[in-house]
């Protein structure tokens, strides 16, 4: 601690070190939070179901998704990224996951939501395996922190079915 510059450097360095410790503690405190989310997705309508010129099946759906994700917000949460994906099996692929819709929840107040929309992203198969296909809809969430570890999880909803014929 000899000169002005030496002390200024010491203060800044030590302050940043303590800041790093505080941020890791904040991230660790997220582990004490036990989220209890609820979600429900309904397929209201199959708008159309076609085979594209390149040979791939495509579906357009109208979805109604409602969820309550407020329990996963902590003091260290910046936002929650949510997306709905369709999962199914084909002879070609053991697991296909197609993202249909996503959104960002910026705060706890917006975490209890209800949306009625057609699929934001196109539901296209690799091939033409979708006729009469049973599929799951999964609601995934990524809890993005202000500092530290991101938590991700999902809810799987089963029992959805595509039509036997194109329309």
């Amino acid at each position: 601690m000899h000169s002005f510059g030496y002390r200024a450097n010491a203060v800044v360095t030590f302050a940043v070190t303590i800041l790093a410790v505080m941020c890791s503690l904040a991230s660790l405190s997220d582990n004490f939070n036990v989220p209890t989310p609820t979600a429900d997705v309904k397929v209201l309508n199959i708008n159309w179901f076609q085979k594209q010129p390149n040979g791939n099946d495509e579906v357009s759906l109208t979805l109604n998704a409602s969820a309550d994700l407020s329990s996963m917000f902590t003091w260290n949460t910046k936002q929650v990224f949510v997306f709905v994906a369709a999962e199914y099996e084909t002879p070609q692929n053991a697991l296909n996951q197609v993202s249909l819709w996503d959104g960002i929840i910026p705060s706890k107040e917006h975490a209890k939501f209800w949306i009625h929309t057609t699929n934001k992203y196109r539901f296209i198969d690799q091939g033409s395996n979708l006729r009469g296909k049973d599929f799951n809809l999964t609601l995934h969430w990524h809890v993005m922190p202000k500092t530290g570890k991101m938590f991700a999880d999902k809810i799987v909803m089963t029992g959805y079915h595509l039509p036997e014929e194109y329309r």
Partner: protein, 130 residues
């Protein structure tokens, strides 16, 4: 080390303090104004104060932030704590200069020359300086 009184011939005691301040960035920007450097006791006190102050502000900031559930409040308390600590411990405040060292007077030092090394070669160079 903090309690010794070294002798430094040929150095004016108050000038060493101003030399130290000359190296500080504040002197370059503030024109003629400069504070004399801290003494050894003051440096020690300043360092301990800095360590304790930053840790306390860190703990208080985290505690309050976690209790209220506001990350922003935690950052605000800690940020202002860092600025406050820097303002108190970094500049050469007079309160850190209460035990200034009494450097040996140059004329006094000249009367007590440093002992010579007694080897064969030293007999050739008998120098009064150092």
């Amino acid at each position: 080390m903090f309690n010794s009184t070294p002798s430094k011939a040929n150095l004016n005691p108050t000038r060493s303090g101003r030399l130290d301040a000359l190296r500080s960035p504040s002197f370059r920007h503030c024109g003629e104004f400069s504070l004399p450097a801290m003494d050894w006791q003051g440096q020690k006190r300043s360092e301990i104060l800095m360590l304790i102050s930053l840790v306390v502000f860190g703990v208080v900031a985290f505690g309050v932030g976690y209790a209220i559930g506001s990350f922003q409040i935690m950052m605000l308390i800690y940020g202002s704590g860092v600025v406050l600590t820097a303002l108190i411990t970094v500049p050469n405040w007079p309160l850190f200069n209460r035990h200034p060292l009494k450097w040996l007077d140059p004329s006094e030092a000249d009367r007590h020359p440093k002992p010579q090394a007694n080897t064969a070669t030293s007999k050739k160079k008998v120098s009064k300086q150092k």
